[in-house]
Structure formats: C-alpha cells, structure tokens
Symmetry: C2
Subunit: 343 residues, 2 copies
C-alpha cells in the first residue's frame, strides 16, 4: 500500500476547502503514520471553477492563489473547465471526496455523481446527507458490485465518529437502537430556553450567531434530524427507512411552561432522534423528549451532538462531540479515506 | 477470508467464560455479518484444567458439561492436560485470546505467554492490563516483526471502545491528550460522598456491592488508573511511560468538606487520569479534579467510565460506557478478533 492515492474533491465550500488545507498540512504525517500518500489531483467548486492535474495539485500554491482570487482556475498549471461529472469519470482519481451542499428532496446532483463514481470503480467518501439518506442501500450495493467503498462518516455529527464507531469499534455487538441529539441548532435553542429566554428570542439569537438559517424550518421542524436518523437507522441497524416512515415532531410547540415543568421534575427537554427495531423492522422517530438529568444525553449542551448506542454486549455507549464546522467534517472525510487505504 | 479462524482461550474466569458463551451464541451471525467462522479450539483455566481439539470444541456441550462439573476436562473429547504455554505454542490456534488476571507488578505469567504467542506468529488479543501497561511498545514491535497483531481494546473501559476508537475511528486526527474516568470504584465512592455519605461508609458499601476489593488500595490509591492511563498514553499518544513516571494522587484524602466546597462552586470532584504531550514527551497523571458541571466527564456517574480525547480536528470527543463486567470485556476481545479477521 505504498503507492499514491489520487483524490478528487467535489465541492469547495467550508468543508471542501478545509479538507484541502488538511491534506496540505498533514501530507507528510499521513504518509509516515498510515502509509497514505494522499494526492489531490482535481477540485471543482460550484461557482469557483475546476482544476485537474493528473500528477497532483500543489496545494500550497493552489490555496494561496485561491485565497487571492476566489477562483480555482487562477492556478497556473493543469487542466481547467472540466465539469464535476467529468472530473469524477474522466480523471485518474481513485477516491472521490464529495462535499457539496445537501439537497434532501432529490439528493441531486450528488446522487448522480456518486452513482457515476461507484460505477466507474471509484471509492466515494461524502459529507452530503442526500445520497446517504435517500439511497444508502442501493449505493452500498453498487459499491459492492464494483469492488469499491461508499463511506459516509461525516454525514452525521459532522465528523465526530458515529458511523465508523458503531460499525467498526462496536463490531461484534448486535445493536438494537441508536438515539441522540443530532441537530445542534435546536439543542442550542432548547438550552437557551432553559436559561429563561423564550423560543422566539432564542431563535433570533441562534440566527444572529449563524447556527440557524434565515428559514429555520429544516432545523426547528426536525427535518435535518430526520435525514440523519434515517442514515443511522439504515447504516447502523440495517434498515430501509424512507422519510415518510419517520414520525416527526419539531420544537416549535415547546413553551417556557414545558421547560419549567421539566426542570421541576429534574428533567431537561431535548430533541431526540431515535432509530430502533420493532417486530424485526427498523423504525425511527424525532421528538422533543424529557430526559432525566442522569441521562448522558441530558448533559449535552451548546451546539454539541451525541449519540447513545444500545448493544447486547455493553448496554449503553455514548459518544459526544462537536456537531458543526468545516474542520471536523473534513476530518470525517479524511478518516474514511484512511479506512479505504487500510483495507 | 472465508476460511476458519482458530482461537485458543487462556483464562476461564468471568471474561473468558463470557467470550466462550458469546462465540457459542453468535457464531452463525458473526459468519454471516463479518465472514468470520470463529472456532474455539482450546481453552485453559488456571484451576479448571484445559481442553484442546484441533477440529474445534463443541461449545454447546463444553459449557453444559463445565457448568455441571466446574472442570473443562469433563468434556468427553479432545486432548486434556496441556499447559497454557503448550496451548499457545503447540496447537493450531491462529489467535490467542488472553483473559487471565492482571499482575501489574511483573505482568507474569501473561507477559511470557504473549511473547511466546507473537514469536510463534500468532495474533494476540488480551484483556490483561499487565503486558499492555508494562511492555506495550516492545510487544507491538515483536508483533510487527512476526506479521501479526497485538490488540488490547478490553484492557481499559472493559470493552467500551477507547483504544480502537482513538486509533481507528479518529484516524487522521493528531491526538494531543486523553483524559477520563477509568476506575469505576472510585467514581462510585465519590458519587456517594456527593450524596452525603462519608468516605469510609461509601467504601464499605462499594465493598458490599462487589465494586471494591477487601484490600481497596489498587482502586482508591489510584494504581488501577495508573496502569490504564499508561496504556492509553503509550498506545494512543505513542508514549513510553513507566509507572514511576506517572504522578499519582488517590481519593483517600478527599473529605466531605472538599465535596461540599466543590458543590458550592457548581463543580464535582472526579478521579481524573490524563495523558498529555509536554515538550514533545508523553506524560501522565492521576488526581482528584474539580470539574465544572458543564464538562461531560462531570456527569459520568455510578460505575460508568469515560474518556475525553483532545484532537486537532474536532477539539473534544467523549465516549461514555460501562466500565466493568465480563460480557462487555468479552465483546472488547471479540471486536479485536473481528478487526484481525478484517485486515
């Protein structure tokens, strides 16, 4: 495994750029530590052009030039103007690192990118929730048929190990449920409400801090949590969930009276997403839940995320970590690249 | 990877027996899920005899007979009377699963068993803290030279993923420190003190419940935590710690006044073990520490254990899980066996 590993990066927002910077900064260490000689050969960004050099891009130079001009095509060498699909199918990349923005309704255009890459015998690592939530089983089958891997660690908990933790660190355990706090925005709002700030004020503050979008529906109505719990249910429990299968209640109905009533019982309201087995079928739900303070999930505050995995060998195991940010998500992609290199 | 995997089990206490039961119960599922056809070919217990069948033991029958007689040699087939060392060196086992009692002073006899196994080209998985704490780097080198693996997931946190979590799930992160609550007995005593029960009473209760030994020194003076933080420091941070390098303060000096004073500051006293880098060298300490309630470790109560890993990619990541019990520890051994099978 001493040969080069050629990577193409699709998407050059916060996550994609952070991955390029990480490969620039850690290249020598990755080679020494894991024998991984990671070469970024191509990058495309939706509004930032694209660049390809089969010998590998000079990331030092590329990032410097990009920081000046905002366009990948200012890089003085290489081939410019290839589309994302051309980069996926026509270059010498062995691994496609996909970090575009999630479209949770259709998964496109990423879903087509992933299918094309796997069909061409290229490994895919992605932080995009769309393909993972909408078509995980189909894509996993396609990967298997083509002798490659489709890995999605960074689609939930933004790089905090959740999927590889459940499937690899917990190998040998039969997992019966996964539940957690997997949306940082709602967790922040609920914690603010507990400090005495009404819902509307807490939402405005979350928007001001950049945690919530101008249209907060995806977070506060639970849609983001639905996408993530579908992924966890399908990957970790082997389910076949569609979004219409997931019972969903958001946090917009939570009042200060609810929060105070929970507090009086030494409980805390959290938006809990859960996937579980019922009569041999994987089911899932997202709902505000009153947790006793002794529950590890009750103490996950701020924008932290967490999952608790129930297993037959260890009862409950909980992982708590950051739930947002380009650097963490990029490291989730990197951990998947290393896993591909190792196997 | 469809051939059989022959395993010999050394040590038949709670952990060893639990591993045998787990392989009996999960054999078909492990084969279907991981392609692992696990065959236990030999078992030896210090006072329970030994049994070897190169074709594999019938675990259903063996465990039934053992539960009746308390002796492995009541099994009607196979070769009896081999020593543990003979089982390690003279049988067709490919993996030695080692689950004997820890001797933290010399590591023996386990240290000799592990060396013999690795030198013979056999993989070793162990729950015994002795060899891992005293000679990890030497044994890892020996394993590498012989093209086999030496895996020790279950030596800390009793099977809750800590080592594989740090080295594999967090691959690509540079880890700068690992700290945690890695001794359940002292955590139980401190939690009881917080409920108003003085140290001496809490210790007696811990002994009554079987959490503390008649001689509680190894727990309350911090020696058990020292052994485990040496393992984490050496494996996760790549250190070369000796026990004399570890600063150690136990919990015997903690008074009810300390506990109350911490509470008044919205803090909680926990016995924290930490390994960290200082001037390029790995150091470690074990000491009672006042944690703010917002720290995930502050909320780890009962006999739960937890570690917090500091990384350059994700800041803090915390794993919380059971810290005792044969079944969890056996699953730690099993996860290592599956990892060997996968690579």
């Amino acid at each position: 495994m001493r040969e080069m590993t050629n990577i193409a990066l699709i998407g050059f927002g916060a996550v994609g750029k952070s991955l390029a910077e990480t490969i620039r900064d850690k290249h020598d260490w990755l080679k020494e530590r894991y024998g991984l000689d990671a070469k970024l050969v191509a990058i495309s960004g939706r509004s930032k052009g694209s660049i390809y050099d089969s010998e590998g891009l000079d990331l030092e130079e590329l990032l410097e030039v990009f920081n000046e001009t905002g366009n990948l095509e200012s890089y003085p060498k290489g081939i410019k103007g290839l589309s994302s699909m051309e980069i996926i199918t026509e270059t010498n990349a062995q691994i496609i690192a996909e970090a575009t923005i999630t479209n949770i309704k259709t998964g496109e255009p990423t879903l087509s990118y992933v299918k094309a890459a796997l069909s061409k015998g290229k490994h895919v690592v992605t932080s995009n929730k769309g393909p993972a939530a909408l078509a995980y089983n189909e894509l996993q089958k396609l990967a298997l048929e083509n002798g490659v891997q489709f890995r999605i660690e960074s689609t939930v908990l933004s790089g905090t190990p959740a999927i590889n933790f459940s499937t690899e660190s917990l190998a040998g355990h039969k997992i019966t449920s996964v539940k957690g706090i997997i949306n940082g925005t709602t967790n922040y709002i609920l914690a603010e409400m507990e400090q005495g700030r009404p819902y509307e004020d807490a939402l405005v503050e979350a928007q001001r801090l950049g945690y919530a979008e101008a249209d907060p529906t995806a977070d506060v109505d639970g849609w983001d949590a639905v996408a993530k719990i579908m992924i966890l249910g399908n990957v970790v429990l082997g389910g076949d969930l569609r979004s219409s299968d997931v019972e969903r209640t958001g946090i917009t109905g939570i009042t200060m009276e609810d929060v105070e009533a929970a507090k009086a019982e030494e409980k805390r309201i959290k938006l809990i997403a859960e996937a579980y087995m019922e009569d041999g079928v994987v089911k899932a739900k997202v709902a505000p839940t009153w947790l006793p303070l002794s529950d590890p999930l009750a103490n996950v505050n701020g924008t932290l995320n967490a999952i608790t995995v129930m297993t037959d060998g260890l009862e409950e195991v909980t992982v708590i970590g950051g739930g947002a940010g380009g650097l963490g998500t990029a490291h989730g992609l990197l951990s998947d690249i290393i896993a591909i290199h190792r196997h």
